[in-house]
């Protein structure tokens, strides 16, 4: 028994005169199982913690991804609505422009007709003045006729009556012509005022005037300009908002791509878990071997039984499943580095 213990611990082999004390070896190894249990407990605690953390990370990422998708959907809906509003606003603006254009054309045409009417009425005024002239001349003729009738004496009495009636008719004609002239003057003045009304509104708006324009057409032009400016302003705001919505959509899409990638990276936990489980298995092997040595030292195990269960670094290597584990193993033992020739992805 002592010779085997010496073989198992060559570095600490005692000089010939120093006797090996199996009880001391067994006592020294007694704490190893408990020690290994604690290490094993820590390893499994790390596995549990990383598992818990990885699960939480995935849940959070899925939630972020879900929120990003909802946000992208909402923003897409908003962008669609804004886009439609922009189109409708453009159509309404165009329609308003056309309507105002038609109104301006209508009023220009109406104003031209009024001007023509005023011109015709002014021509009537000339005719009225001619009638007044004729009335005056007729009145003079009637007066002359009456003078001649008086000279003719009794023979001219009848003629005198006719001359007086002619004078009265001339007088009435002059009065009627004057009345017509006044009415025409009044009407033309009112129509002129309608055409050239220069209200406070126009002055405030500072709308340039052309010969063809009237107050109404200038007002309509002003309304059209104001409406066009407002439409352009709102369209600009809508366009900026749509652009911002597009940007948010692109950001959301990028965010969901990132979260998916991050979810993929959480595979590290599964790889780490397996590596730690192999460490834990190795600790169990050490534990068992320490128990075996204690049992051998105390006579509970034969040398053959002990030697058949001795752990080896090569056996540990055979348990590795990952290329990384084999590389680490080689680095620690000084053995040849293992490089996998197989591709990481292979379709058979």
């Amino acid at each position: 028994m002592p010779s085997l213990l010496r073989r198992l611990s060559p570095a600490t082999a005692a000089p010939e005169e120093q006797s090996v004390r199996p009880d001391a070896v067994a006592t020294a190894l007694d704490p190893v199982p408990a020690y290994c249990d604690v290490v094993d407990g820590h390893v499994h605690d790390v596995i549990a913690q990383t598992d818990e953390a990885a699960t939480a990370i995935i849940q959070q990422l899925v939630k972020v991804d879900s929120l990003a998708e909802v946000m992208a959907g909402d923003v897409a809906q908003l962008a669609g609505t804004l886009g439609r509003t922009e189109t409708e606003l453009s159509q309404v603006s165009s329609s308003n422009d056309q309507l105002v254009g038609r109104l301006i054309s209508y009023f220009l045409h109406r104003d031209q007709q009024i001007r023509a009417l005023v011109d015709q009425m002014r021509e009537l005024d000339q005719h009225v003045k001619q009638i007044e002239e004729v009335s005056r001349a007729t009145n003079i003729l009637a007066l002359n006729a009456m003078i001649e009738a008086v000279r003719a004496g009794e023979a001219g009495e009848g003629f005198s009556v006719v001359a007086d009636e002619v004078r009265k008719l001339a007088h009435r004609s002059a009065e009627a012509a004057h009345g017509i002239g006044s009415s025409i003057g009044d009407l033309t003045a009112r129509l002129d005022a309608v055409l050239s009304d220069d209200s406070q509104f126009d002055r405030e708006q500072e709308i340039p005037q052309t010969n063809e324009e009237t107050a109404m057409t200038r007002r309509l032009g002003g309304i059209a300009n104001a409406q066009r400016e407002m439409s352009e302003l709102v369209a600009g705001i809508l366009k900026d908002t749509v652009n911002a919505a597009d940007q948010v959509q692109r950001s959301s899409a990028a965010l969901t791509t990132e979260t998916t990638g991050a979810v993929g990276h959480v595979q590290f936990q599964d790889i780490t878990r397996q590596m730690l489980e192999h460490v834990a298995e190795a600790v169990v092997d050490v534990r068992r071997q320490s128990e075996d040595v204690v049992a051998y030292a105390r006579g509970g195990l034969t040398e053959e039984e002990l030697m058949s269960r001795v752990i080896s670094v090569e056996a540990l290597r055979a348990k590795h499943v990952m290329s990384r584990q084999r590389s680490t193993h080689a680095a620690q033992t000084g053995g040849p580095a293992h490089a996998d020739a197989e591709p990481l992805i292979e379709l058979f």
Binding site: T55, T256, T260, G261, Q267, Q269, V321, M322
Partner: protein, 123 residues
């Protein structure tokens, strides 16, 4: 909808892969080991694709692939092994058992979805 069955003893892996595949538009069935997956196939679950781990308790992935091929309607269903195992002999065993491909963890979402498109061109 194309259904993918995920077989892995790691809840983290199942959750991670399910999130990636669901987002890509696939329906997902999960099982914690080969035996559970085989039970599901026996109960009429008919996935269009199986992605299985190799080292699992109760029934490992290679045995599962071999048994799954015997299930009705599963003769030509693609079976991808997704594992940390890099040993060439294991890969050869999986191929002999009827696996369609071998993917070593970790596999990025784009890589995984690319392989799925290769084995399920119409999906």
């Amino acid at each position: 909808m194309t259904t993918v069955m995920l077989v892995d003893d790691s809840a983290t892996m199942l959750m991670s892969l399910k999130a990636i595949l669901t987002k890509a538009g696939y329906a997902v069935e999960t099982a914690g080991h080969g035996k559970e997956a085989l039970d599901k196939l026996g109960k009429g679950v008919k996935p269009n694709l199986i992605i299985s781990d190799v080292n699992m308790p109760q029934m490992d992935g290679i045995t599962f692939a071999r048994e799954a091929r015997k299930a009705p309607g599963m003769r030509f269903t693609p079976i991808l092994m997704l594992t940390t195992e890099s040993e060439a002999t294991k890969r050869a065993e999986a191929k002999a058992a009827g696996a369609t491909g071998w993917l070593v963890k970790p596999v990025g979402p784009d890589q995984l979805l690319g392989v799925i498109k290769q084995v399920l061109p119409g999906a």
